[in-house]
């Protein structure tokens, strides 16, 4: 287990190096000049030149990248071209919100997904199965921003049960929880649908396995057959999908945070891209990549608990 974590840690360093190079070079070749965005519409050529000099944008590509890496290795991820705030500071303010949103959405996705998948498999070909698979299909097809806007209109504007936007209260308060409900459903629905489909097919496969028939033949109670013999064995591919979906979910925060006015890393990323605020883009992409790797490491570790046959030693 320790070896796995160490190995993944080393892989992560190389992965981040690769990603930082990709992001850096794509921002470098992308059209649109950061100096124009800093200087505003009335900036003259000499103003722009001074801004470029000041931001180090006149250096050759490799010099810029080298400087960035050197500073990043010392924990300095630079500062925003726009606000002059340090990248670490800006992310530190926003990251808790994104994490809250991602975890809440994952909880929504896992609960709805596994539950729906399970019912579908157990009541195979019944009306419940048809309903659940239809909703799963709809869940995958519905765009986030549309679902978000719709939920806002129904539950926040018309029924006034929940607030429209913001995520400023702590999550353990009633207000904080209320703020989380709509964004978590919006963001979690797509993942819930994917998890449901995977849970359904995986359960169906396991339920037909010989050892399940044997268990039933031995007179094991149906409840135990499902919960102990079937579910646990069917969970491995489901957990893989959950891990992969976490990445999908982090991508989804970009839109969800915008629709629900949440001050998070996803929004920071998209705003920074629009403003050509390269250090901010770089910092937030690296954070998201790290998170994705860590979650998948956790998934790999969870396998060993669910299936004792899996071992990394």
């Amino acid at each position: 287990m320790i070896a796995l974590i160490v190995r993944r840690g080393i892989q992560l360093v190389f992965l981040l190096l690769g990603i930082s190079f990709l992001v850096f070079s794509s921002m470098y070749i992308a059209p649109g000049d950061p100096a124009t965005m800093v200087g505003g519409p009335t900036a003259t050529e000499s103003d722009l030149e001074a801004i470029r000099d000041n931001l180090g944008l006149n250096d050759p590509f490799l010099v810029q990248y080298g400087k960035y890496l050197k500073n990043a290795a010392q924990g300095d991820f630079g500062y925003s071209y726009q606000t002059k705030q340090t990248v670490s500071e800006a992310i530190a303010v926003r990251f808790p919100n994104t994490l809250k949103l991602a975890i809440a959405s994952m909880i929504v996705a896992v609960i709805i997904g596994i539950f729906a998948g399970l019912i579908s498999a157990l009541k195979h070909n019944s009306w419940l199965d048809v309903t659940s698979t239809t909703f799963a299909l709809a869940g995958i097809s519905i765009p986030n921003f549309w679902l978000g806007a719709l939920l806002i209109l129904v539950f926040a504007v018309n029924l006034q049960w929940l607030p429209v936007g913001g995520l400023s209260d702590p999550f353990y308060t009633v207000e904080g929880l209320k703020q989380l409900v709509l964004p978590a459903i919006t963001l979690g629905t797509g993942s819930a649908a994917m998890i449901a489909r995977m849970a359904r097919s995986s359960m169906l496969e396991v339920i037909k396995a010989d050892y399940v028939r044997t268990a039933r033949a031995k007179g094991v109670k149906e409840r135990n057959v499902i919960w102990i013999h079937t579910l646990k064995n069917a969970m491995i591919p489901v957990i893989t999908v959950i891990g992969l979906n976490f990445g999908f979910l982090l991508g989804g925060t970009i839109i969800t945070e915008k629709v629900f006015a949440i001050n998070g890393v996803g929004r920071l990323m998209i705003d920074s891209i629009a403003m050509r605020d390269f250090p901010m883009v770089q910092g937030s992409v690296l954070l998201v990549a790290t998170l994705f790797v860590v979650v998948n490491l956790i998934v790999d570790i969870v396998y060993t608990f669910i299936d004792p046959r899996i071992s990394y030693d």
Partner: protein, 518 residues
């Protein structure tokens, strides 16, 4: 089993509810009961939803409208344009005197203090202006004071400023929010970008970047304490979310309403929509560095092919029709310019296209993919095609658009200018003077006769004379078909009905100073 059925019913109910909401959402709401805890007049906090965050809170170091929204409430300027008379009137200044074309003497109001207790005086003004024009500060709007030569403190409340050449736009420049007066002591002690100190009606409380800025009433404000005690500028990037928040009473005020949302806003029972004719102008311009655009008949054909009235009818009442490049709310406008451009005449356009073979070569119409620009591009493409032109739209995201337009990689494009100071020189100099070709003059327009008039308008002190010069420059451009004005903007805001007293300026700015709960 019972449980599963129950959950399924809930799920279905939710989706059915969602499906029904499309209609009910746009219908006027019967909101007596539901508004109890919403926008009560007694509510302590007044929240404004803004689509993007401030960049910083120092007037000297910023140049964007979101920062300006906060800055205008925390700081004051020496002068301000009266939205009704359009005259520039003293604000922190008491009076001024023009000794000769190069010497201005300003008397300041007495007894005013900054929020940190520092007295507001001639020294503070000198400090602010010196900082703004110091190259080491690299202030984005240093150009406001570029003509200033020396600043001398005569006594506690008197200041003499000498300019290098006669500066006709001086008072307008001093009314710009980037020329607001900062507290010298605070500026030396702290970073005003994060912790601003001015003399304005509201004091700074806190700023969570990306989320919100909090202000509180300045109870000692020299012009009377504001009625609102606690004001929040909250970042809500999605405008439809902001409108929902307004409807649900979570925010009390939004500005810059998009035309496509006007019907929804006007049907909301708890909201007043405020409109006023504004200074922003939206126009089609040619890339004057291209050979084909230097042909006057080509420009005339394009202008004659565009039916501006038809376009404006799509704006849900948010556009004013006039050919004039300086709009009705801008200093230098004369109503004789309203129809001074080439009128819409499809047949004439067709004839010109036919005669000169303009339809043979495709025209690249560059547009930014935001606001009304996309709609403008689509409609104009259709109209030009009808006249026989071949038009290809290139739609770009804002940052890329700005750069592409600046470097002149287009044939025709749409630009806009909000004109904060409301002065005609401030429209013409950055956008059309040859000094700025390739930077802010994205039209790459170079016309020596026009240049001369613009310089004259900037260096003439007599305001009546300036008006005549600006009108001349305006008409010169129109005769030339150098740009085709699509419309002049109407500035808009929507406020909770529980409040009144919003001051909406033609340049799109607004003040909460006199807003009170009913």
């Amino acid at each position: 089993m019972k449980k599963t059925v129950w959950y399924s019913i809930m799920l279905i109910a939710m989706l059915v509810l969602a499906a029904c909401s499309g209609e009910s959402a746009s219908a006027p709401k019967n909101s007596d009961g539901s508004k109890d805890e919403g926008p009560a007049a007694s509510s302590e906090t007044f929240t404004f939803a803004t689509t993007s965050d401030a960049v910083g809170l120092s007037p000297t170091l910023t140049n964007d409208s979101m920062s300006a929204n906060v800055i205008e409430h925390v700081y004051d300027t020496l002068f301000a344009r009266n939205p009704e008379t359009k005259e520039i009137e003293p604000k922190l200044a008491e009076s001024y005197e023009i000794k000769d074309d190069l010497t201005w003497v300003f008397k300041l109001k007495e007894g005013i203090k900054f929020h940190d207790g520092t007295p507001f005086n001639a020294e503070a003004v000198k400090y602010t202006f010196d900082k703004l024009r110091d190259p080491a500060t690299a202030a984005p709007r240093a150009s406001l004071l570029e003509p200033v030569d020396t600043i001398t403190v005569i006594d506690e409340n008197t200041l003499e400023i000498k300019t290098k050449y006669p500066y006709g736009v001086f008072l307008a420049a001093l009314s710009h929010s980037n020329a607001a007066i900062i507290s010298p002591t605070a500026d030396q002690a702290q970073d005003l970008m994060k912790d601003p100190v001015g003399t304005g009606p509201f004091k700074f409380v806190s700023w969570t970047p990306g989320d919100q800025v909090e202000l509180e009433a300045n109870e000692e404000y020299w012009n009377g304490a504001p009625a609102l005690k606690h004001v929040v500028f909250k970042v809500v990037p999605e405008v439809s979310t902001a409108i929902s928040m307004l409807e649900a009473g979570e925010v009390q005020f939004i500005d810059n309403l998009p035309p496509e949302q006007m019907k929804r806003l006007e049907s909301m029972q708890n909201v007043n929509v405020e409109k006023t004719d504004g200074t922003p102008v939206y126009y089609l311009t040619f890339n004057h560095s291209k050979e084909m655009n230097q042909d006057p008949e080509f420009r005339k054909a394009v202008a004659a092919a565009i039916d501006r009235d038809a376009f404006i009818s799509k704006l849900n009442g948010l556009g004013v029709r006039s050919d004039s490049i300086l709009g009705p709310q801008v200093f230098g406008y004369d109503e004789s310019a309203d129809n001074a451009g080439s009128a819409y005449d499809l047949e004439a356009a067709k004839a010109l296209v036919e005669k000169n073979g303009y339809g043979d070569k495709p025209i690249k119409l560059l547009t930014a993919n935001r606001g009304t620009f996309t709609l403008m591009a689509e409609i104009v493409q259709a109209q030009l095609t009808e006249a026989g032109f071949k038009v290809e739209i290139e739609s770009l995201e804002w940052a890329t658009f700005l750069d592409t337009a600046r470097s002149g990689q287009y044939d025709i494009t749409f630009l806009s200018w909000s004109n904060v100071t409301g002065d005609g020189s401030e429209m013409f100099y950055p956008n059309f003077h040859s000094d700025n070709a390739g930077t802010s003059n994205r039209a790459q327009y170079k016309n020596p006769e026009f240049d001369k008039l613009v310089v004259e308008s900037r260096t003439t002190i007599d305001q009546e004379e300036r008006e005549v010069i600006l009108d001349k420059a305006n008409k010169l451009m129109l005769e030339d078909n150098a740009a085709v004005v699509m419309y002049h903007g109407i500035v808009t805001a929507a406020m909770d009905k529980a409040y009144t007293g919003l001051e909406l300026d033609p340049n799109g700015k607004w003040s909460l100073t006199n807003v009170t709960g009913k």
